[in-house]
Protein backbone atom coordinates (compact mmCIF):
# COMPACT_ATOMS: atom_id res chain seq x y z
CA UNK A 1 0.00 0.00 0.00
CA UNK A 2 1.39 3.37 -0.98
CA UNK A 3 0.73 6.22 1.41
CA UNK A 4 -0.13 9.62 -0.01
CA UNK A 5 1.06 12.96 1.35
CA UNK A 6 -1.91 13.46 3.67
CA UNK A 7 -1.33 10.05 5.24
CA UNK A 8 2.37 10.77 5.71
CA UNK A 9 1.39 14.03 7.43
CA UNK A 10 -1.05 12.15 9.69
CA UNK A 11 1.72 9.87 10.90
CA UNK A 12 4.16 12.79 11.29
CA UNK A 13 1.57 14.53 13.50
CA UNK A 14 0.95 11.33 15.47
CA UNK A 15 4.71 11.03 16.08
CA UNK A 16 4.73 14.45 17.76
CA UNK A 17 2.74 12.93 20.63
CA UNK A 18 5.00 9.88 21.02
CA UNK A 19 6.37 9.87 24.55
CA UNK A 20 4.19 12.79 25.68
CA UNK A 21 2.87 10.67 28.53
CA UNK A 22 -0.61 10.58 30.04
CA UNK A 23 -1.57 14.05 28.83
CA UNK A 24 -4.33 15.63 26.82
CA UNK A 25 -3.54 15.63 23.10
CA UNK A 26 -5.15 18.81 21.74
CA UNK A 27 -5.10 18.69 17.96
CA UNK A 28 -6.31 21.67 15.92
CA UNK A 29 -7.06 20.86 12.32
CA UNK A 30 -8.17 17.70 10.55
CA UNK A 31 -4.79 16.00 9.97
CA UNK A 32 -3.62 16.53 13.60
CA UNK A 33 -6.97 15.19 14.83
CA UNK A 34 -6.51 12.03 12.78
CA UNK A 35 -2.89 11.89 13.97
CA UNK A 36 -3.81 12.13 17.64
CA UNK A 37 -6.44 9.40 17.29
CA UNK A 38 -3.98 7.20 15.39
CA UNK A 39 -1.37 7.71 18.14
CA UNK A 40 -3.90 6.67 20.76
CA UNK A 41 -4.90 3.58 18.78
CA UNK A 42 -1.28 2.52 18.34
CA UNK A 43 1.81 3.62 20.26
CA UNK A 44 0.30 6.14 22.72
CA UNK A 45 -2.83 4.56 24.24
CA UNK A 46 -2.33 6.69 27.36
CA UNK A 47 -3.25 9.96 25.57
CA UNK A 48 -6.43 11.77 26.55
CA UNK A 49 -8.68 13.08 23.77
CA UNK A 50 -11.67 15.42 23.81
CA UNK A 51 -14.75 15.35 21.62
CA UNK A 52 -13.98 18.95 20.60
CA UNK A 53 -16.27 20.24 23.33
CA UNK A 54 -16.38 19.42 27.01
CA UNK A 55 -16.05 15.64 27.13
CA UNK A 56 -13.06 13.30 27.27
CA UNK A 57 -13.60 10.33 24.99
CA UNK A 58 -13.15 6.81 26.27
CA UNK A 59 -13.32 5.49 22.73
CA UNK A 60 -11.75 6.57 19.45
CA UNK A 61 -14.55 7.27 16.99
CA UNK A 62 -14.12 8.06 13.31
CA UNK A 63 -13.99 11.73 12.40
CA UNK A 64 -17.53 13.03 12.18
CA UNK A 65 -18.96 10.21 14.32
CA UNK A 66 -20.08 10.72 17.89
CA UNK A 67 -18.13 9.29 20.79
CA UNK A 68 -20.08 6.59 22.67
CA UNK A 69 -17.92 6.41 25.78
CA UNK A 70 -17.22 9.40 28.01
CA UNK A 71 -14.31 9.01 30.40
CA UNK A 72 -14.13 12.53 31.75
CA UNK A 73 -15.39 16.11 31.86
CA UNK A 74 -13.30 18.94 30.55
CA UNK A 75 -15.28 22.18 30.21
CA UNK A 76 -13.34 25.30 29.26
CA UNK A 77 -12.60 26.28 32.84
CA UNK A 78 -10.95 22.92 33.53
CA UNK A 79 -9.28 22.93 30.14
CA UNK A 80 -7.61 26.27 30.97
CA UNK A 81 -6.53 24.87 34.33
CA UNK A 82 -5.12 21.81 32.57
CA UNK A 83 -3.09 24.07 30.27
CA UNK A 84 -1.62 25.91 33.25
CA UNK A 85 -0.80 22.58 34.92
CA UNK A 86 1.06 21.47 31.80
CA UNK A 87 -0.52 18.03 31.33
CA UNK A 88 -1.32 18.75 27.72
CA UNK A 89 0.44 18.77 24.38
CA UNK A 90 -1.30 21.04 21.90
CA UNK A 91 -0.83 21.11 18.16
CA UNK A 92 -1.98 24.49 16.94
CA UNK A 93 -2.24 25.98 13.48
CA UNK A 94 -0.38 29.11 12.46
CA UNK A 95 -1.19 31.84 9.99
CA UNK A 96 2.44 32.92 10.36
CA UNK A 97 5.38 31.18 12.03
CA UNK A 98 8.98 32.38 12.22
CA UNK A 99 12.30 30.56 12.65
CA UNK A 100 12.18 31.04 16.44
CA UNK A 101 8.73 29.50 16.65
CA UNK A 102 6.78 32.70 17.18
CA UNK A 103 3.26 32.07 15.89
CA UNK A 104 0.51 34.41 14.75
CA UNK A 105 -3.19 33.57 14.58
CA UNK A 106 -4.42 37.04 15.53
CA UNK A 107 -4.24 39.35 12.52
CA UNK A 108 -2.18 40.22 9.45
CA UNK A 109 -0.73 43.71 9.14
CA UNK A 110 -0.72 46.51 11.68
CA UNK A 111 -2.58 45.36 14.81
CA UNK A 112 -4.24 48.78 15.21
CA UNK A 113 -6.00 48.39 11.88
CA UNK A 114 -5.24 44.98 10.45
CA UNK A 115 -5.29 44.25 6.74
CA UNK A 116 -6.83 40.91 7.73
CA UNK A 117 -8.34 40.24 11.11
CA UNK A 118 -7.98 36.55 11.95
CA UNK A 119 -9.00 34.63 15.08
CA UNK A 120 -7.37 36.74 17.76
CA UNK A 121 -4.64 35.37 20.04
CA UNK A 122 -7.10 32.89 21.61
CA UNK A 123 -5.21 30.66 24.05
CA UNK A 124 -1.87 30.75 22.23
CA UNK A 125 -0.01 32.94 24.77
CA UNK A 126 -0.99 30.64 27.64
CA UNK A 127 -0.52 27.43 25.67
CA UNK A 128 3.06 28.17 24.64
CA UNK A 129 4.19 29.24 28.11
CA UNK A 130 2.57 26.37 29.96
CA UNK A 131 2.41 23.14 28.00
CA UNK A 132 4.39 21.52 25.18
CA UNK A 133 3.30 22.96 21.85
CA UNK A 134 3.60 21.75 18.27
CA UNK A 135 2.38 23.34 15.06
CA UNK A 136 0.62 22.02 11.98
CA UNK A 137 0.98 23.92 8.68
CA UNK A 138 -1.15 22.32 5.94
CA UNK A 139 0.35 24.53 3.23
CA UNK A 140 4.04 25.28 3.71
CA UNK A 141 4.65 28.59 1.94
CA UNK A 142 6.70 31.80 2.32
CA UNK A 143 3.48 33.53 3.42
CA UNK A 144 3.24 31.26 6.44
CA UNK A 145 6.90 30.53 7.24
CA UNK A 146 7.92 34.17 7.52
CA UNK A 147 10.90 36.22 8.60
CA UNK A 148 8.82 38.01 11.22
CA UNK A 149 5.24 37.48 12.42
CA UNK A 150 2.86 40.45 12.66
CA UNK A 151 1.39 39.65 16.09
CA UNK A 152 3.14 37.23 18.42
CA UNK A 153 0.33 35.01 19.71
CA UNK A 154 2.25 31.81 20.46
CA UNK A 155 5.63 32.61 21.97
CA UNK A 156 8.84 31.46 20.27
CA UNK A 157 12.19 30.64 21.85
CA UNK A 158 13.77 34.10 21.39
CA UNK A 159 10.80 35.95 22.82
CA UNK A 160 10.47 33.56 25.75
CA UNK A 161 14.19 33.97 26.55
CA UNK A 162 13.87 37.76 26.40
CA UNK A 163 10.85 37.67 28.72
CA UNK A 164 12.82 35.82 31.41
CA UNK A 165 12.74 32.65 33.50
CA UNK A 166 8.99 32.70 34.17
CA UNK A 167 8.43 32.57 30.43
CA UNK A 168 11.01 29.86 29.70
CA UNK A 169 10.23 27.69 32.72
CA UNK A 170 7.65 25.47 30.98
CA UNK A 171 8.13 26.69 27.40
CA UNK A 172 8.80 23.99 24.80
CA UNK A 173 8.01 23.79 21.11
CA UNK A 174 8.22 20.16 20.20
CA UNK A 175 7.62 19.90 16.48
CA UNK A 176 6.43 21.72 13.38
CA UNK A 177 4.72 19.44 10.89
CA UNK A 178 3.97 20.82 7.42
CA UNK A 179 2.83 19.29 4.15
CA UNK A 180 6.50 19.27 3.05
CA UNK A 181 8.57 18.40 6.09
CA UNK A 182 8.93 17.91 9.81
CA UNK A 183 10.88 20.61 11.62
CA UNK A 184 12.02 21.16 15.19
CA UNK A 185 14.14 23.49 17.31
CA UNK A 186 16.82 21.07 18.47
CA UNK A 187 19.66 23.46 17.59
CA UNK A 188 22.08 25.33 19.88
CA UNK A 189 20.37 28.68 19.22
CA UNK A 190 16.86 27.20 19.22
CA UNK A 191 16.07 28.16 15.64
CA UNK A 192 14.12 25.93 13.32
CA UNK A 193 15.83 23.05 11.57
CA UNK A 194 14.67 20.32 9.24
CA UNK A 195 14.09 17.07 11.06
CA UNK A 196 12.89 15.16 8.01
CA UNK A 197 11.71 15.78 4.47
CA UNK A 198 8.51 14.08 3.35
CA UNK A 199 9.06 11.49 0.60
CA UNK A 200 9.03 13.17 -2.81
CA UNK A 201 9.99 16.63 -1.51
CA UNK A 202 13.35 18.08 -2.59
CA UNK A 203 15.59 20.31 -0.50
CA UNK A 204 15.14 23.11 -3.05
CA UNK A 205 11.38 22.81 -2.92
CA UNK A 206 11.45 23.18 0.85
CA UNK A 207 13.85 26.15 0.79
CA UNK A 208 11.76 27.91 -1.87
CA UNK A 209 8.63 27.43 0.19
CA UNK A 210 10.18 28.95 3.30
CA UNK A 211 10.28 32.72 3.85
CA UNK A 212 13.53 32.66 5.83
CA UNK A 213 16.88 31.01 5.09
CA UNK A 214 16.55 27.35 6.02
CA UNK A 215 19.52 25.03 6.06
CA UNK A 216 18.68 21.63 4.60
CA UNK A 217 21.73 19.44 5.25
CA UNK A 218 22.71 16.70 2.82
CA UNK A 219 21.43 13.40 3.99
CA UNK A 220 18.53 14.82 6.00
CA UNK A 221 16.24 11.87 6.79
CA UNK A 222 12.97 11.17 5.06
CA UNK A 223 9.78 11.29 7.09
CA UNK A 224 8.74 7.73 7.80
CA UNK A 225 5.88 6.27 5.83
CA UNK A 226 2.88 4.73 7.58
CA UNK A 227 2.91 1.02 8.24
CA UNK A 228 0.26 -1.16 6.64
CA UNK A 229 -1.54 -1.34 9.98
CA UNK A 230 -1.45 2.45 10.36
CA UNK A 231 -2.76 2.95 6.83
CA UNK A 232 -5.63 0.62 7.53
CA UNK A 233 -6.48 2.51 10.73
CA UNK A 234 -6.34 5.87 8.95
CA UNK A 235 -8.41 4.75 5.97
CA UNK A 236 -10.92 2.42 7.60
CA UNK A 237 -11.20 3.42 11.25
CA UNK A 238 -10.31 7.05 11.91
CA UNK A 239 -11.02 8.81 8.62
CA UNK A 240 -13.13 6.59 6.37
CA UNK A 241 -14.72 9.70 4.81
CA UNK A 242 -11.33 10.91 3.58
CA UNK A 243 -11.56 14.35 5.22
CA UNK A 244 -7.74 14.44 5.28
CA UNK A 245 -7.64 15.01 1.53
CA UNK A 246 -9.41 18.34 1.93
CA UNK A 247 -6.60 19.68 4.09
CA UNK A 248 -3.54 18.44 2.18
CA UNK A 249 -3.34 18.45 -1.59
CA UNK A 250 -2.53 15.07 -3.14
Amino acid sequence: MNADRAEICVVACAEAWRGSGEVLASPMGVIPTIGARLARLTFAPELLLTDGEALLMGDVPALGSASRVTEGWLPYRRHLALVAGGRRHVMMGASQLDRHGNQNISCIGDWKRPARQLLGVRGAPANTLNNPTSYWIPRHSPRVLVERVDMVSGVGYDRAAAAGPSATRFHRIVRVVTDLAVLDFETPDRTMRVRSLHPGVSADELRDATGFPLDVPDGVPRTRTPSAAELRLIREVVDPAGLRDREVRR
Partner: protein, 288 residues
Protein backbone atom coordinates in the same frame (compact mmCIF):
# COMPACT_ATOMS: atom_id res chain seq x y z
CA UNK B 1 -40.64 34.05 49.87
CA UNK B 2 -38.02 35.47 47.56
CA UNK B 3 -38.59 38.32 45.17
CA UNK B 4 -40.05 37.64 41.73
CA UNK B 5 -37.39 39.02 39.40
CA UNK B 6 -39.06 38.04 36.14
CA UNK B 7 -39.16 40.71 33.47
CA UNK B 8 -39.14 41.00 29.70
CA UNK B 9 -35.92 41.28 27.70
CA UNK B 10 -36.79 44.89 26.92
CA UNK B 11 -37.31 45.63 30.62
CA UNK B 12 -33.95 44.08 31.45
CA UNK B 13 -32.18 46.09 28.80
CA UNK B 14 -33.95 49.28 29.95
CA UNK B 15 -31.92 48.97 33.15
CA UNK B 16 -28.66 49.23 31.21
CA UNK B 17 -27.16 52.52 30.18
CA UNK B 18 -24.75 53.81 27.59
CA UNK B 19 -21.08 53.71 28.49
CA UNK B 20 -21.43 50.61 30.70
CA UNK B 21 -19.01 47.72 30.86
CA UNK B 22 -21.07 44.71 29.86
CA UNK B 23 -20.08 41.05 30.18
CA UNK B 24 -21.75 38.57 27.85
CA UNK B 25 -21.75 34.86 28.71
CA UNK B 26 -21.50 31.78 26.51
CA UNK B 27 -18.53 31.00 24.31
CA UNK B 28 -18.12 31.60 20.56
CA UNK B 29 -21.39 30.56 18.97
CA UNK B 30 -22.55 28.60 22.01
CA UNK B 31 -25.31 29.53 24.47
CA UNK B 32 -25.08 33.25 23.85
CA UNK B 33 -27.85 35.41 25.38
CA UNK B 34 -29.00 36.40 21.90
CA UNK B 35 -32.55 37.43 22.85
CA UNK B 36 -31.03 39.92 25.32
CA UNK B 37 -28.57 41.08 22.66
CA UNK B 38 -31.45 41.54 20.23
CA UNK B 39 -33.26 43.59 22.88
CA UNK B 40 -30.11 45.64 23.30
CA UNK B 41 -30.14 46.31 19.55
CA UNK B 42 -33.71 47.63 19.88
CA UNK B 43 -32.66 49.95 22.71
CA UNK B 44 -30.69 53.19 22.45
CA UNK B 45 -27.88 51.82 24.69
CA UNK B 46 -24.49 52.34 23.09
CA UNK B 47 -20.84 53.24 23.76
CA UNK B 48 -20.38 49.89 25.53
CA UNK B 49 -17.26 48.19 26.74
CA UNK B 50 -18.03 44.53 26.00
CA UNK B 51 -16.22 41.64 27.69
CA UNK B 52 -16.89 38.36 25.92
CA UNK B 53 -15.59 35.01 24.76
CA UNK B 54 -16.81 36.43 21.50
CA UNK B 55 -19.33 35.11 19.04
CA UNK B 56 -22.22 36.64 17.11
CA UNK B 57 -23.07 38.73 20.20
CA UNK B 58 -19.95 40.73 19.46
CA UNK B 59 -20.70 40.64 15.73
CA UNK B 60 -24.24 42.02 16.03
CA UNK B 61 -23.30 44.74 18.50
CA UNK B 62 -20.23 45.75 16.48
CA UNK B 63 -22.25 45.88 13.26
CA UNK B 64 -24.75 48.20 14.98
CA UNK B 65 -21.94 50.44 16.23
CA UNK B 66 -22.76 49.82 19.90
CA UNK B 67 -19.28 48.79 21.03
CA UNK B 68 -16.75 51.43 22.00
CA UNK B 69 -14.25 48.90 23.26
CA UNK B 70 -14.09 45.12 23.10
CA UNK B 71 -12.21 43.04 25.66
CA UNK B 72 -11.71 39.59 24.14
CA UNK B 73 -9.34 36.82 23.11
CA UNK B 74 -11.26 36.03 19.92
CA UNK B 75 -14.57 36.30 18.13
CA UNK B 76 -15.70 33.21 16.26
CA UNK B 77 -18.78 31.41 15.00
CA UNK B 78 -17.10 28.02 15.68
CA UNK B 79 -18.26 26.19 12.55
CA UNK B 80 -17.32 29.39 10.68
CA UNK B 81 -13.92 30.30 12.15
CA UNK B 82 -14.00 34.09 11.70
CA UNK B 83 -16.82 36.31 12.98
CA UNK B 84 -17.51 38.44 9.88
CA UNK B 85 -18.70 41.66 11.57
CA UNK B 86 -15.88 41.59 14.11
CA UNK B 87 -13.45 41.10 11.26
CA UNK B 88 -14.92 43.94 9.19
CA UNK B 89 -15.05 46.35 12.14
CA UNK B 90 -11.41 45.65 12.98
CA UNK B 91 -10.34 46.04 9.36
CA UNK B 92 -12.15 49.38 9.16
CA UNK B 93 -10.26 50.44 12.28
CA UNK B 94 -13.57 51.02 14.10
CA UNK B 95 -13.24 48.66 17.01
CA UNK B 96 -11.04 49.52 19.95
CA UNK B 97 -9.74 46.19 21.22
CA UNK B 98 -8.19 44.97 24.45
CA UNK B 99 -6.85 41.69 23.12
CA UNK B 100 -6.12 39.22 25.93
CA UNK B 101 -5.42 35.51 26.12
CA UNK B 102 -8.44 33.32 27.03
CA UNK B 103 -6.94 32.48 30.42
CA UNK B 104 -6.24 36.16 31.13
CA UNK B 105 -9.91 36.89 30.53
CA UNK B 106 -10.90 34.12 32.95
CA UNK B 107 -8.53 35.36 35.64
CA UNK B 108 -9.57 39.00 35.11
CA UNK B 109 -13.20 37.99 35.72
CA UNK B 110 -12.15 35.84 38.67
CA UNK B 111 -10.26 38.77 40.19
CA UNK B 112 -13.38 40.91 39.84
CA UNK B 113 -15.59 38.21 41.39
CA UNK B 114 -13.15 37.91 44.32
CA UNK B 115 -12.83 41.70 44.67
CA UNK B 116 -9.10 41.54 44.01
CA UNK B 117 -7.26 44.21 41.99
CA UNK B 118 -5.49 41.58 39.88
CA UNK B 119 -4.44 37.95 39.71
CA UNK B 120 -1.03 36.73 38.56
CA UNK B 121 -0.72 34.50 35.49
CA UNK B 122 2.08 33.23 33.31
CA UNK B 123 0.08 33.75 30.11
CA UNK B 124 1.00 36.83 28.13
CA UNK B 125 4.71 36.98 28.94
CA UNK B 126 6.76 37.21 25.76
CA UNK B 127 3.68 37.61 23.54
CA UNK B 128 2.46 40.73 21.76
CA UNK B 129 -0.48 40.84 24.16
CA UNK B 130 1.97 42.85 26.28
CA UNK B 131 2.81 45.14 23.35
CA UNK B 132 -0.77 45.94 22.34
CA UNK B 133 -1.86 46.42 25.97
CA UNK B 134 0.82 48.79 27.26
CA UNK B 135 -1.16 49.22 30.47
CA UNK B 136 -0.56 45.59 31.51
CA UNK B 137 1.92 45.28 34.37
CA UNK B 138 3.89 42.41 35.80
CA UNK B 139 4.24 41.47 39.45
CA UNK B 140 7.14 39.71 41.18
CA UNK B 141 6.44 36.85 43.53
CA UNK B 142 7.37 37.85 47.11
CA UNK B 143 8.43 34.24 47.80
CA UNK B 144 11.76 32.51 47.21
CA UNK B 145 10.95 31.66 43.56
CA UNK B 146 10.92 35.37 42.68
CA UNK B 147 8.92 34.67 39.52
CA UNK B 148 7.77 37.63 37.46
CA UNK B 149 4.20 37.14 36.27
CA UNK B 150 1.53 39.15 34.48
CA UNK B 151 -0.87 40.94 36.84
CA UNK B 152 -4.19 40.57 35.03
CA UNK B 153 -6.36 43.46 36.19
CA UNK B 154 -9.85 42.74 37.51
CA UNK B 155 -12.49 42.89 34.78
CA UNK B 156 -15.26 44.34 36.90
CA UNK B 157 -18.54 44.47 35.02
CA UNK B 158 -21.41 46.91 35.42
CA UNK B 159 -23.75 44.23 34.14
CA UNK B 160 -23.70 40.69 32.79
CA UNK B 161 -26.02 38.99 30.33
CA UNK B 162 -26.19 35.19 30.28
CA UNK B 163 -28.53 32.54 28.88
CA UNK B 164 -29.13 29.22 30.62
CA UNK B 165 -31.48 26.31 30.08
CA UNK B 166 -33.70 26.76 33.14
CA UNK B 167 -34.23 29.38 35.84
CA UNK B 168 -36.66 30.07 38.63
CA UNK B 169 -38.35 33.38 39.27
CA UNK B 170 -35.83 34.48 41.85
CA UNK B 171 -32.79 34.06 39.61
CA UNK B 172 -31.38 30.62 40.35
CA UNK B 173 -30.38 29.18 37.01
CA UNK B 174 -29.43 25.78 35.68
CA UNK B 175 -27.36 24.67 32.70
CA UNK B 176 -28.07 21.27 31.19
CA UNK B 177 -25.41 21.07 28.48
CA UNK B 178 -21.87 19.74 28.86
CA UNK B 179 -20.15 23.08 29.51
CA UNK B 180 -21.04 25.86 31.95
CA UNK B 181 -18.69 28.17 30.01
CA UNK B 182 -18.02 31.08 32.39
CA UNK B 183 -21.58 32.24 32.97
CA UNK B 184 -21.36 32.04 36.77
CA UNK B 185 -18.13 34.01 36.71
CA UNK B 186 -19.67 36.73 34.51
CA UNK B 187 -22.56 37.04 36.97
CA UNK B 188 -20.25 37.14 40.00
CA UNK B 189 -17.97 39.73 38.36
CA UNK B 190 -20.92 42.03 37.64
CA UNK B 191 -22.74 44.56 39.79
CA UNK B 192 -25.94 43.15 38.36
CA UNK B 193 -26.67 40.14 36.21
CA UNK B 194 -29.57 39.41 33.89
CA UNK B 195 -30.33 35.77 33.18
CA UNK B 196 -32.45 34.66 30.28
CA UNK B 197 -33.55 31.05 30.06
CA UNK B 198 -35.37 28.62 27.82
CA UNK B 199 -38.02 28.04 30.45
CA UNK B 200 -38.88 29.36 33.88
CA UNK B 201 -39.55 26.51 36.29
CA UNK B 202 -40.65 26.10 39.87
CA UNK B 203 -37.69 25.45 42.18
CA UNK B 204 -38.80 21.86 42.70
CA UNK B 205 -38.25 21.07 39.03
CA UNK B 206 -34.51 21.68 39.09
CA UNK B 207 -33.73 18.37 40.77
CA UNK B 208 -35.60 16.39 38.12
CA UNK B 209 -33.59 18.01 35.33
CA UNK B 210 -30.09 17.62 36.71
CA UNK B 211 -27.77 17.10 39.67
CA UNK B 212 -27.27 20.00 42.12
CA UNK B 213 -24.02 21.09 40.48
CA UNK B 214 -25.98 22.05 37.35
CA UNK B 215 -27.37 24.97 39.40
CA UNK B 216 -24.72 27.29 38.07
CA UNK B 217 -26.03 30.76 38.88
CA UNK B 218 -27.41 31.72 42.28
CA UNK B 219 -30.07 34.34 42.83
CA UNK B 220 -27.97 36.63 45.02
CA UNK B 221 -26.17 38.01 41.98
CA UNK B 222 -29.17 38.12 39.68
CA UNK B 223 -31.21 41.28 39.16
CA UNK B 224 -33.55 40.02 36.48
CA UNK B 225 -34.86 36.79 34.96
CA UNK B 226 -36.19 36.66 31.42
CA UNK B 227 -38.05 33.72 29.94
CA UNK B 228 -36.79 33.57 26.37
CA UNK B 229 -37.50 30.31 24.54
CA UNK B 230 -35.01 30.09 21.69
CA UNK B 231 -33.16 32.88 23.45
CA UNK B 232 -29.75 31.64 22.36
CA UNK B 233 -30.74 31.26 18.71
CA UNK B 234 -28.86 30.96 16.38
CA UNK B 235 -26.15 29.78 18.76
CA UNK B 236 -26.39 26.38 20.43
CA UNK B 237 -28.23 25.72 23.68
CA UNK B 238 -27.90 21.99 24.17
CA UNK B 239 -29.75 19.85 25.08
CA UNK B 240 -32.64 22.17 24.17
CA UNK B 241 -31.30 22.78 20.65
CA UNK B 242 -28.17 22.69 18.56
CA UNK B 243 -26.73 25.64 16.71
CA UNK B 244 -28.87 26.64 13.72
CA UNK B 245 -26.12 26.14 11.14
CA UNK B 246 -28.27 27.09 8.15
CA UNK B 247 -29.27 30.34 9.78
CA UNK B 248 -25.74 31.06 10.95
CA UNK B 249 -24.47 30.52 7.40
CA UNK B 250 -27.10 32.97 6.15
CA UNK B 251 -26.03 35.46 8.83
CA UNK B 252 -22.37 35.15 7.83
CA UNK B 253 -23.16 35.46 4.14
CA UNK B 254 -25.29 38.56 4.69
CA UNK B 255 -22.65 40.09 6.95
CA UNK B 256 -20.12 40.02 4.13
CA UNK B 257 -22.11 42.50 2.03
CA UNK B 258 -23.56 45.83 3.26
CA UNK B 259 -26.61 45.65 1.01
CA UNK B 260 -27.40 42.06 2.02
CA UNK B 261 -26.85 42.98 5.65
CA UNK B 262 -29.43 45.79 5.41
CA UNK B 263 -31.87 43.26 4.00
CA UNK B 264 -31.04 40.73 6.72
CA UNK B 265 -31.55 43.23 9.54
CA UNK B 266 -34.74 44.50 7.90
CA UNK B 267 -36.07 40.96 7.65
CA UNK B 268 -34.98 39.52 11.01
CA UNK B 269 -33.99 42.29 13.39
CA UNK B 270 -36.30 45.21 12.77
CA UNK B 271 -39.16 43.93 14.93
CA UNK B 272 -39.52 42.43 18.40
CA UNK B 273 -38.50 38.94 19.59
CA UNK B 274 -41.82 37.44 18.43
CA UNK B 275 -41.18 38.93 14.99
CA UNK B 276 -37.70 37.44 15.00
CA UNK B 277 -39.03 34.02 15.91
CA UNK B 278 -41.65 34.00 13.18
CA UNK B 279 -39.11 35.20 10.59
CA UNK B 280 -36.78 32.40 11.71
CA UNK B 281 -39.61 29.86 11.49
CA UNK B 282 -40.34 31.00 7.94
CA UNK B 283 -36.63 30.76 7.14
CA UNK B 284 -36.52 27.21 8.52
CA UNK B 285 -39.51 26.17 6.40
CA UNK B 286 -37.88 27.58 3.31
CA UNK B 287 -34.79 25.48 4.07
CA UNK B 288 -36.61 22.30 5.06
Amino acid sequence: MTADKTMTADEAVARLSSGMTLGIGGWGSRRKPMALVRALLRSPVTDLTVVSFGGPDVGLLAAAGRIRKLVAAFATLDSIPLEPHFRAARQRGELELTELDEAMLMWGLTAAAHRLPFLPVRAGLGSDVMRVNPGLRTVTSPYADGEELVAVPALTLDAALVHLNRADRSGNAQYLGPDPYFDDLFCEAAREAYVSCERIVEGGEFAAAGAPQTLLVQRHCVAGVVEAPGGAHFTSCVPDYERDEAFQAAYAKAAADPEEWREFTGHFLSGDEAGYRSAVAAFAEEWA
